[in-house]
């Protein structure tokens, strides 16, 4: 009788060990077979924020040249079609942007793929009752991304519309950055358990364009610097910050006193990237930027959930390597 019990216990232990291994191996396999896709949108030709035109250029360079994402897996839409920016697929009209998500992305992406969507433009807001769900905004306003292009004129891509379009994309994990004024208002609309959403400001705050004159919007600049983290041979922590006019010549080098890789594990998580951007965002001066993150699907633009617990479990998962 005792021998039978021992046999059952050993069997249970072996089963648990095997089950644990299979789950871990499955997870590793799932991650190793992840295909990465991206949609980049530079949304305005307004000269006041010409920096938005270079934000996406630098992001494109980072994704292609540093993260090895194939150019044919990036759909790049740009407002200014009068300049031959590298890699641009289409003008950033509202119709083209929606097609890029609803058609190109939704049809190509599979359920184990990773998707990155990046908007940089002017922000806008309007009465919640005018479109989509008329009661989904606690502040009474929908938010929008302004799409102001060379030939398409001015149009607005509303948060309700983006939510509808993203619902068609079935992927493993989605990382969304909306960098506009009032962009925190997108979090409530786009929040889901498999999504990380970052914005440089809240739904009722403005966001800074280029303050230091290096042609990048402030939050985007430090966010991309974290992605583009570089430590030179002497182990001083310089970040390569370059304007990418179809050239690889760096025009700016900026020194940061710390590193995005706070865990010192040579891997950077979105949580580390977001924290680095928080620490160094010049746009926070004067009460402009107020960066937000959501990664637990609760729709709250904070790093704590409704119970007061720190979030970041999903964002802490390393996906970027140095």
């Amino acid at each position: 009788m005792r021998a039978q019990l021992r046999q059952k216990r050993n069997f249970a232990i072996i089963a648990i060990v095997l089950l644990t291994f299979s789950v871990l191996i499955g997870k590793v396999n799932a991650q190793s077979y992840v295909t990465r896709w991206a949609v980049l949108v530079s949304g305005t030709i307004d000269c006041e924020v010409r920096s938005t035109q270079f934000d996406t250029q630098f992001m494109y360079h980072i994704l292609v040249d540093h993260y090895g994402i194939s150019e044919d897996r990036i759909y790049y839409l740009h407002a200014n079609m009068s300049y031959p920016y590298r890699g641009v697929d289409a003008e950033a009209t509202k119709n083209n942007v929606r097609c890029a998500i609803r058609e190109w992305l939704a049809h190509n992406v599979s359920s184990h793929d990773w998707v990155f969507i990046y908007f940089t433009s002017h922000g806008y807001y309007g009465s919640d009752g005018a479109r989509g769900d008329p009661t989904d905004e606690t502040d009474g306003d929908d938010e929008a991304i302004q799409l102001d292009t060379t030939s398409g004129g001015i149009n607005y891509y509303w948060d309700d519309e983006l939510r509808e379009d993203l619902a068609l994309v079935n992927c493993w994990e989605m990382f969304i950055v909306v960098s506009t004024c009032f962009s925190g208002g997108f979090i409530r609309d786009l929040s889901a358990t498999n999504r990380i959403i970052m914005t440089p400001t809240t739904e009722d705050q403005w966001s800074a364009g280029d303050i230091d004159g290096d042609e990048f919007c402030e939050w985007d600049e430090v966010f991309m610097d974290a992605l583009h983290w570089y430590v030179d041979g002497n182990d001083t922590k310089w970040l390569n910050e370059q304007i990418y006019h179809n050239t690889s010549e760096p025009l700016f080098w900026k020194y940061y006193p710390d590193t995005p890789d706070t865990k010192q594990d040579c891997f950077m998580s979105m949580w580390e990237v977001w924290n680095f951007a928080w620490r160094h965002d010049d746009g926070k001066i004067g009460g402009l930027d107020c960066p937000c993150i959501d990664d637990n699907g609760d729709g709250e633009p904070t790093y704590r959930d409704t119970s007061g617990n720190l979030i970041g479990m999903m964002a802490e998962t390393p996906w970027t390597s140095t």
């Binding site: 506009t180 004024c181 364009g209 303050i211």
Partner: protein
Amino acid sequence: MGEPKISRNHVIIVVLSICLAVSLFFNGYLAWRLQTLTGESSSAFTFLWSPEEQGITSDWLQMNASFVWDENDLYVVVKINYTALRGSYLGLVFDRNENGKIDYQSMDDLPYILFMDNTTYPTTALLSDGRLAMLKMASIPSNDTCIFDLETGYTFTMKFPSLMRHLGNKLVHVVFEDVESGVAKKFVVKRFSFG
């Protein structure tokens, strides 16, 4: 029979007197207002930058700034002899919190910005180099105006209702920037007391 005739003359005299008095009153009021607008309460300044001191134009850049009080309203007219039609703005920051200095990155001395297309921002920030921060929202229509002339350049006319008439400190920060210049950061800054 004679009483009505005297009475009619009296009436005419009284009416004419009243008209004269009213006319004199308004003439006196207008004269006083004119004196107020062009007298002690107004001030004008001229600033010059050599081509080496500014990268906006290859000639000398001149800024004429006039400050005129109309009771509690302040009118500011700033002329810049920059004759290229470019995306640009004029920024003004007053020492609203009366701490004797213009505060950077502060909501107390809230900067005002007027773009050359007669638009503005609801808010912005004064940067450490003297420029104003650009925002990721489209600028909105302003009640103030900017007129561009190919021969004389830009004329920004702004009204600040009920602004700091009571303040002893009339410190102002004025900045003009060509925002299309991008990395080159072409701008001029002047800080002075206008009263």
